[in-house]
């Protein structure tokens, strides 16, 4: 498969680009909700528009009412989300939770997918425990209780946790904390008793929670897939989420770079456009090169994931790490080359820097994934 978009994908990219630039713009969404101190950090009306556009069900099978598309297509939407810093629960709901639900039975799909597809439901995923992404260790426990389970533990960095209609929770049903096996995924509804959210606003104005499960009683039908069979589903979610976050990161990088290159063509100092200075030209050209390479590896990872390739796991980490570095460079150079106004809240470039920081951390930063690349490569 060639590493560029086919005609259908190019059409989707056009419409996603136009839609996000108009409806998902920084002014209309990110700044709007941030400046109103919105408790969700995103707009529900926009999420419903995502539903009307078909974006919400992009990864959901056609039999289940979705578009039955792949990660290349989801990535097209995510790149535009990244470029416009559009706050939305797309990544957690339509990529991560949707991937989990693919592994669920008809009952659980029927319960949750229609709301997702319409853009009415918001889903979160609760994986991390502690400030760093370490999905190898899961301490949150789900013990047998009657016909169901009783959930105890705490999850962190749960994006949109307090705004969610359902949380996909990775919990341990057997074995010790570090064991690969013995994980079960649960679909926990928002009104579950003994679940509490400590909502925190993050640097990029998105909302996350520390979520406590203090003996949350769950029915057996809250299990996604098989009991003790959650690791495989979790790995599938992580692959999809990492490649998705990488696609969004390419959008963040591209948006920051374009803004910066435009600025170099407008700002005058010493009687010259600053873009005429070779010191800045070379840095901008190096940045372009890094962003293009990051874009290429993301498409590669998406295609491998869609083709169910064995290499998809390695390449999802490569893509996440590479994008994190390229986007980090883009926002740092962006702020520096904007000079003083880059430090002001009025200018958007700083918003890119904040978003990149949060997105890089989500589902593992470049250092985590570099370690993973070494391990998967056998050293």
């Amino acid at each position: 498969m060639p590493l560029y978009h086919d005609d259908d994908q190019a059409m989707l990219a056009d419409s996603a680009r136009q839609f996000m630039a108009e409806e998902g713009s920084i002014k209309k969404q990110l700044r709007h909700w941030r400046d109103r101190d919105c408790k969700d950090g995103f707009g529900h009306a926009l999420w419903e528009q995502f539903g009307e556009m078909g974006f919400t069900g992009i990864l959901v099978d056609e039999d289940d009412g979705g578009l039955g598309m792949g990660h290349v297509e989801a990535g097209i939407v995510l790149e535009e989300i990244g470029r416009n810093l559009t706050p939305s629960p797309f990544l957690t709901s339509s990529v991560l939770a949707a991937t989990a639900l693919k592994h669920g039975g008809d009952d659980i799909k029927g319960r949750y997918l229609p709301g997702l597809i319409e853009g009415k439901s918001v889903f979160s995923v609760a994986i991390d425990e502690g400030p760093k992404h370490r999905p190898e260790t899961i301490r949150t426990r789900a013990e047998k209780s009657g016909n169901g389970f009783r959930l105890t533990g705490q999850k962190d960095f749960v994006l949109h946790g307090a705004s969610s209609d359902m949380l996909v929770v990775a919990a341990r049903t057997s074995g010790s904390d570090d064991e690969p096996e013995g994980i079960t995924l649960f679909a926990v509804p928002k009104d579950a008793a003994n679940m509490s959210h400590d909502a925190v606003r993050l640097v990029d104005s998105s909302m996350a929670t520390h979520t406590k499960f203090d003996g949350v009683e769950l029915d057996g039908d809250a299990v996604i897939g098989e009991v003790d069979g959650g690791r495989e589903i979790l790995n599938a979610m992580l692959k999809a989420g990492r490649v998705g976050a990488a696609a969004e990161g390419v959008g963040v990088a591209g948006g920051a770079m374009d803004m910066t290159v435009d600025y170099l063509k407008q700002r005058k100092q010493f009687g010259k456009l600053i873009g005429e200075f070779q010191a800045l030209q070379h840095r901008a050209a190096h940045l372009y090169s890094e962003v293009e390479i990051a874009r290429a590896v993301v498409v590669k990872a998406q295609q491998l994931l869609d083709g169910d390739s064995e290499k998809a796991d390695l390449m999802s980490s490569v893509a996440k790490a590479k994008v994190s570095q390229a986007a980090g460079l883009a926002v740092r150079e962006g702020v520096q080359m904007h000079g003083g106004i880059g430090m002001t809240d009025e200018y958007d470039i700083g918003l890119y820097m904040k978003r990149d920081r949060a997105l890089s951390e989500y589902l593992g930063d470049a250092y985590y994934h570099a370690g993973r690349v070494a391990e998967l490569s056998g050293y």
Binding site: E276, Q281, Y288, I293, K300, K322, A370, G371, Y379
Partner: protein
């Protein structure tokens, strides 16, 4: 179509099985393993001769050139199959030459029918070894400032001047050479000439590099007579007189693609995995290896995307500059890491264990990657100007 390709694959596999000797299915170890052809060429062994002759007779020294010019006339898809099948058995290239990589593409694009018939066939059959005369002592990155001058004497020019970095000039038979033929027009005053290195007045002097090897020469031209014609429809220059810069620019694009295609070295294998087999890596070095592997795998995806887009006529025409920049910088980094992983063994300059200092010499050689064929700084200039469209670049 797919069926035809599969049957071609089978034929190719059978042909390779029958014609590629086992000795030619080993990685190239030293310069002697590379066959360059030319008037004075000798074969290292019978296997090298046998493999070269089989490929020559089949048109496989230049598989995608037309049959009438010594190639096999393969379609891009067939040529890809051949490359894949050769790679699968680690087959060495039967013939290496600047004629194949550089002059050939220029002649295919700009040459007359007579030039193609003569020169391309000579290249394909390994009869004439070419070298390239571009840079001059005072004209490196600023190539167009070159001064080597050809005085018009009617049916010939008299050329005087000096070229530098002419690869293997001391072993080459002919040279394709940029010569100024109009001193008043910088860009439209250069002619892309072709002449015999055995001509009176041509002399060469090898340049010893920091790697200890001498793949490059200085080439001096002292009243060298270059005919304007070598016979009917065989001009002594490519393209038009005074428009050699067009040919040179076209070739530089080719050269950048070629260098960028080798960027990062052997990217199929993880550098961290390969080096850790020699001994445990220090933790920080291991981390650097992982970061390198990430960049190398990402660059591989970029190269693949570039090739896909090239075939489909998509992509920015200045992209090879980006690939050249990123690929060569990556290759330098790779070699730095290999030296670090190798420790004091990698420092050995002549020992048998290191095949004569292969790691160290290779490391030093890669420093030229970001200089030859346009420096990294020139590549960044081109990206700034042509892709980012920055002012005054």
């Amino acid at each position: 179509m797919a069926e035809q390709l599969e049957s071609f694959r089978k034929e190719t596999r059978d042909w390779l099985e029958a014609n590629c000797p086992p000795e030619m299915r080993q990685p190239v170890r030293d310069e002697g393993d590379v066959y360059w052809g030319g008037r004075n060429a000798t074969f290292k062994n019978d296997a090298q001769k046998q493999w070269f002759e089989a490929c020559r007779d089949k048109g496989y020294t230049v598989p995608d050139w037309p049959k009438e010019y010594g190639g096999a006339g393969l379609s891009p898809a067939e040529a890809k199959v051949l490359r894949q099948e050769m790679a699968a058995i680690n087959a060495r290239p039967p013939l290496s030459s600047f004629g194949i990589w550089m002059l050939g593409p220029a002649l295919l694009h700009f040459g007359t029918e007579g030039q193609k018939q003569r020169f391309l066939n000579e290249i394909a059959r390994g009869e004439i070894r070419w070298c390239q005369g571009y840079s001059e002592p005072g004209s490196g990155s600023d190539l167009v400032s070159m001064q080597t001058f050809g005085e018009d004497k009617g049916d010939h020019w008299v050329v005087n001047g000096q070229k530098i970095w002419t690869s293997y000039a001391d072993e080459a038979d002919w040279i394709f050479c940029l010569v100024r033929t109009d001193k008043d027009d910088k860009y439209k005053g250069i002619t892309f000439m072709l002449f015999d290195m055995a001509s009176d007045g041509v002399s060469t002097k090898p340049i010893k590099l920091i790697s200890g090897n001498s793949p490059f020469c200085e080439t001096f031209m002292d009243d060298v007579k270059v005919p304007k014609s070598y016979g009917e429809d065989v001009p002594g220059y490519v393209g038009e007189i005074n428009r050699g810069w067009d040919v040179a620019k076209y070739l530089l694009g080719h050269e950048r693609e070629m260098i960028s295609a080798t960027g990062g070295g052997d990217r199929a294998t993880s550098l961290g995995a390969a080096t850790s087999r020699q001994g445990e890596l220090d933790p920080v070095l291991r981390a650097q290896m992982a970061l390198f592997d990430i960049d190398a795998l990402s660059f591989t995806a970029m190269s693949e995307k570039f090739m896909d887009e090239l075939k489909a006529g998509k992509g920015h025409p200045a992209q090879p500059n980006m690939l050249k920049y990123a690929g060569t910088e990556l290759n330098k980094r790779r070699n730095e890491l290999m030296m670090s992983a190798g420790g004091s063994t990698a420092l050995e300059w002549e020992s048998e264990e290191t095949s004569g200092g292969k790691t160290a010499r290779g490391w030093l050689r890669t420093k030229a990657n970001s200089i030859e064929g346009g420096t990294s700084e020139v590549m960044l200039n081109v990206i700034a100007k042509r892709i980012l469209e920055l002012p005054g670049a």
